[in-house]
């Protein structure tokens, strides 16, 4: 958002920027909940020792890795347009398999390196400060969006 903010300030009235922000924060909240839901589902499906037992550490690590991968993939997606249908269909299957394998590997890694678990947990604890800002902002935005829809 900060990347576009200067051009928004040059183009839009404050009211328009606020409306845009409420839409964006509401969507961000919903997106986060969907991703969290996906991770919870994965934790329930996999044997407990592969994910559920170290949910915070592994889940946090997974969230960071997946976000980094998404950030790197974004500019390349347009290049995927000429890919044949057969290859495109394989991509989500490969991605899901990759995440499952990654979870299993991470569980071994965290078992062997308890220090890593402590570091990741400490980092996650530190990041909760953002949750105190992000969650109320998201909920407030959701409330505003619902009000705009209803009225």
């Amino acid at each position: 958002m900060f990347y576009y903010l200067p051009s928004w300030l040059g183009d839009m009235y404050t009211r328009d920027i606020l409306i845009l922000s409420t839409n964006v924060f509401t969507f961000a909240l919903l997106e986060s909940l969907i991703i969290l839901g996906g991770m919870v589902l994965l934790a329930l499906l996999l044997p407990a020792r592969f994910f559920k037992d170290k949910f915070v550490a592994q889940g946090g690590f997974l969230a960071v890795l997946v976000s980094l991968a998404a950030y790197l993939i974004h500019p390349k997606l347009v290049d995927a347009l000429p890919l044949r249908l057969l290859y495109l269909v394989q991509i989500p299957i490969i991605a899901l398999a990759g995440i499952i394998i990654l979870m299993v590997l991470l569980s071994f890694l965290f078992d062997r390196l308890p220090g890593l678990t402590r570091v990741v947990n400490a980092f996650a604890k530190g990041m909760t400060i953002f949750a105190y800002i992000y969650l109320p902002l998201g909920l407030l935005s959701l409330f505003v969006v619902l009000l705009r829809i209803i009225f």
């Binding site: 300030l9 040059g10 183009d11 964006v24 974004h74 495109l88 991509i91 989500p92």
Partner: protein
């Protein structure tokens, strides 16, 4: 004296009332709402504005281009007024469309950035509101930036067709929202969270969105690879793809459905990039021809090595849409609409393949970018008229009001188009402005301002880091390719500079922003 008035309804009165009730269906017709669009004995002809995005007059054989790009435009021109020196007010869609629809130059409407909006005080000055008194108003555009402007006029549109309604594949998100939320939805979803280029707001869901589009595109395009050998035409800032024949078929249907007399604004994407002519037109201009090379401009931002290939494909795309226009023309004639309509063919801006820039949205305002076609056929017109006066896209609105017999409001900056050659003021000032790097809420620091007056064109580059406060002057009559800058030698330099400097000061006064 009668003191007790009869209050009960008699049988006779009741029967009279019952007879009157049968007339109530007519009330809807004679209400103000019903009068609009009611064919008042066919007195008013329809008005159809048809815009092809990014169509440069420079690339049309009608205007002397060596490649035969538009035989159907030429056929249309045989019974129409052809304006040979018509100019857009800006170098890309948002400001040029805003100028066309409000008859104000970009410094007035302030929508001179890509995502810009027309100032609230200018919005009522729009072509739809002003014609609505006598016309049923309808609009359709494939261009999502022009569509955003149309949503600013939504309350004045009887029919606003969704921009993605004629797409083969790919939808916008904002078109699925209520119209009062469309602009906010456009900004939030289509231009931020799910925008096609990066960086984008949604990190993870947008990948899922992209992926489902890729799958659908692959499935849909399987049967079209032979028809579109270099890919299906699409809309650059979105996932939309379309086939030109399908779009034109949709336009034909739309025009048939409108209630006469109607005013319709139809703005189609071709030949905007990506240039994707179908197989009938692909490689039709593989002739090796190239125009005279021109020196790179200091503000040109690309290399020029791929221009011949791109120019060829652009010309082929024009030939493709010209063919489809021919189909539209035949159809309108067949259903009788051509005979009772003004049909106006024009463009929002042109396209450059020279001076170090390919495309539009550039500060270098040369003629292939600003010079756009304007061909207007009137009902029953049987002869061609060629008009060489300098005209501007801001002239369309006052001209249409004049046709409709409606008053022209004060804030309008255009003039009524001349109907004969030699008509109009040969020395009027025509303007174009490029200011996309500036805030719309403050003074403009980095701009290109072009003044076209008579046969001369003075361009002022203000504030650019590598080309600061420079003037260029061209004689468009003797040097239509703008090869020789005559700023230091032409006797008219001083006079034109004074007019331009005065305007430059005027448009940067605090009361303008």
């Amino acid at each position: 004296m009668e003191t007790n008035r009869k209050t009960e309804l008699s049988r006779r009165d009741f029967l009279k009332l019952a007879a009157g009730l049968s007339l109530t269906p007519l009330v809807e017709k004679i209400s103000p709402e019903g009068l609009r669009g009611l064919n008042l004995g066919g007195l008013l002809p329809n008005i159809i504005i048809l815009i092809f995005d990014t169509l440069s007059a420079y690339h049309l054989s009608l205007y002397g281009y060596p490649r035969n790009t538009c035989p159907n435009f030429e056929r249309f021109a045989e019974k129409a007024n052809v304006y040979h020196n018509h100019h857009s007010a800006a170098s890309f869609t948002t400001p040029s469309t805003a100028s066309l629809l409000t008859s104000t130059y970009p410094w007035q409407h302030r929508a001179y950035t890509l995502d810009g909006s027309i100032r609230p005080h200018v919005v009522p000055n729009n072509i739809f509101r002003l014609l609505r008194e006598k016309y049923y108003t309808a609009a359709f555009t494939q261009n999502i930036f022009a569509d955003k402007l149309l949503f600013q006029f939504d309350q004045y549109l009887d029919r606003h067709q969704a921009s993605d309604s004629l797409n083969f594949i790919g939808n916008t998100i904002y078109n699925n929202l209520p119209s009062e939320e469309a602009i906010a939805g456009f900004r939030s979803f289509d231009r931020f969270l799910f925008r096609r280029d990066t960086p984008r707001g949604s990190l993870l869901m947008s990948i899922l969105y992209d992926f489902t589009f890729l799958l659908r595109y692959r499935l849909a395009f399987r049967d079209l690879t032979e028809i579109y050998p270099i890919g299906m035409p699409g809309i650059k800032s979105s996932y939309a793809h379309f086939t030109v024949d399908q779009v034109m078929g949709g336009v034909m249907s739309l025009l048939e459905e409108l209630r006469a007399p109607f005013f319709s604004y139809i703005h189609l994407m071709p030949p905007h990039s990506p240039y994707r002519p179908d197989s009938h037109f692909h490689k039709m201009f593989n002739d090796g021809w190239e125009p005279q090379p021109k020196e790179r401009h200091p503000l040109g931002d690309g290399n020029q090595t791929n221009y011949p290939g791109k120019r060829q494909t652009y010309d082929e795309f024009i030939a493709n849409i010209d063919y489809e226009f021919g189909r539209l023309l035949d159809h309108l004639e067949k259903i009788g609409l051509l005979g009772n309509s003004y049909l106006i063919l024009t463009s929002d801006h042109g396209e450059l393949f020279e001076r170090g820039h390919r495309g539009h949205s550039t500060p270098i305002l040369f003629e292939p970018l600003l010079h756009v076609p304007l061909i207007i056929s009137s009902p029953g017109q049987e002869e061609r008229k060629d008009i060489h006066a300098q005209t501007s896209s801001v002239d369309l609105l006052p001209t249409l009001l004049h046709i409709a017999g409606l008053p022209i409001p004060g804030p309008v900056e255009g003039q009524i188009l001349p109907l004969q050659d030699g008509g109009g003021n040969p020395e009027r000032n025509i303007w174009a402005l490029e200011a996309s790097s500036n805030s719309t809420f403050g003074p403009m620091h980095e701009t290109t301002l072009a003044l076209i007056k008579g046969t001369h064109k003075l361009v002022y580059y203000q504030g650019y880091k590598n080309y600061k406060d420079q003037y260029e002057l061209y004689n468009l009559e003797n040097d239509p390719d703008e090869l020789v800058d005559r700023y230091t030698s032409d006797p008219r330099s001083g006079e034109l500079k004074e007019i331009l400097d005065q305007k430059s000061k005027e448009i940067n006064q605090p009361n303008t922003y």
